[in-house]
């Protein structure tokens, strides 16, 4: 029997009503499966890494603030990480990139080997990496500009996870968010993550 899963849901910006509703629906869906859900909203998160954090990055205490500490504790215990990410232009938005820069530091996402100086993965406990993008670009625009958010999460971040970590992605448009049937279809897929 599969035990209770600990899910971390990171939301780039839930100030938009449609995104907040979608986030609530995703969290409710996961809670219904009696999973433990930690919701991390980045609406008030400062994305820019500070000079103090940068200077202590390779020290024993790279985490210097309480908001980062809370996120790091949740990540260390998580079985699944899901990002809900509106894409205003291309690539990751500043809040999500800032969260990755500041929270996934040595000791949380990876370990720096003192002898060889190499990076060793530390997110082997993550079973699934999920990305829910709200992206209004056309298919052609996406093909030309590339889906850089996917590249960072499914390639760079995936490299510090375990060998069996699965990657799952869903893309919605702003129009889809207003369509209950379209949202329900996506939620059905997310329920299998």
């Amino acid at each position: 029997m599969v035990g209770k899963l600990r899910r971390v849901v990171v939301i780039a910006d839930d100030r938009r009503e449609a995104v907040a509703t979608l986030t609530e629906q995703v969290c409710d869906l996961l809670r219904k499966r009696s999973d433990e859900v930690t919701r991390i909203s980045l609406a008030a998160f400062s994305p820019a890494m500070t000079a103090e954090e940068r200077r202590s990055y390779e020290s024993d205490e790279p985490i210097r603030s309480e908001e980062v500490k809370e996120s790091a504790t949740a990540v260390k215990q998580a079985d699944t990480m899901i990002f809900i990410h509106p894409t205003p232009a291309q690539g990751l938005t500043a809040p999500v990139k800032g969260w990755i820069d500041r929270v996934l530091v040595p000791g949380v996402a990876f370990v720096l080997d003192d002898k060889t100086g190499r990076v060793r993965p530390a997110l082997g406990h993550i079973g699934t990496l999920g990305l829910i993008s709200i992206d209004d670009r056309t298919r052609i625009q996406r093909w030309v500009e590339h889906h850089n958010a996917k590249r960072v999460i499914f390639r760079a971040l995936r490299l510090v996870c375990g060998i069996r970590t699965r990657t799952r992605a869903i893309t919605l448009t702003t129009g889809d968010l207003a369509d209950q049937r379209a949202v329900a279809r996506r939620l059905k897929v997310i329920s299998r993550w």
């Binding site: 998160f45 400062s46 994305p47 820019a48 890494m49 500070t50 000079a51 954090e53 940068r54 200077r55 205003p88 232009a89 291309q90 690539g91 990751l92 938005t93 500043a94 809040p95 990139k97 800032g98 990755i100 820069d101 996934l104 100086g117 990076v119 209004d136 030309v144 500009e145 590339h146 850089n148 590249r151 960072v152 390639r155 760079a156 971040l157 490299l159």
Partner: protein
């Protein structure tokens, strides 16, 4: 003809290697025919969450008057730091209906540093490089050229290697701006 060069720097630490790269770039770009202009995002207090509209307009005005754009930043998690990403999102993108363009920019030079080696960055997909070559470039002049002056595997490098990189960058920048 006076060429107009804008240097955009993004690093929180003033005594970092990125700051040394910026100094080398500005020294190399300064000549009788070139006037480099520095935008230091950390020093200017750019806020990526709620960008100051006056600052955004000022940066757009400067970019409209630029022909060589030089970006200096460290690559973290295979992409630009969050502050620079926020700057791109607010200065280079308005909304879906208005496509922000800077047609005067004919050359983009990227001076970035990677802690990990090149093969690992290739495996990670180099999304930062794609942001420049596929997104920023499409908003510049039609034949805009991109020059990628990256230092890979910086974590395992000696001081001599870093100094060599600085002089290599200075030589390349002098060549670009002298044209």
């Amino acid at each position: 003809m006076v060429t107009r060069t804008t240097v955009v720097q993004c690093h929180p630490v003033a005594e970092s290697f990125t700051a040394a790269v910026t100094s080398a770039v500005i020294d190399a770009a300064t000549s009788a025919s070139t006037v480099p202009l520095l935008i230091d995002l950390y020093a200017e207090g750019f806020d990526p969450s709620q960008p100051d509209p006056v600052m955004v307009d000022e940066h757009r005005r400067r970019l409209n008057d630029t022909d060589t754009l030089i970006l200096v930043y460290p690559t973290w998690w295979s992409a630009q730091p969050a502050l620079l990403q926020g700057w791109v999102d607010s200065v280079w993108a308005r909304d879906r209906t208005i496509r922000q363009q800077f047609r005067s920019i004919r050359r983009i030079v990227v001076c970035t540093t990677h802690g990990s080696p090149k093969w690992l960055n290739a495996l990670e997909g180099e999304s930062g490089k794609r942001t420049v070559t596929r997104y920023l470039r499409s908003r510049c002049a039609r034949r805009c050229r991109v020059h990628w002056l990256a230092l890979y595997g910086m974590d395992g490098m000696s001081e001599d290697d870093r100094r060599r990189h600085l002089s290599r960058i200075a030589n390349r920048i002098q060549r670009f701006t002298a044209r």
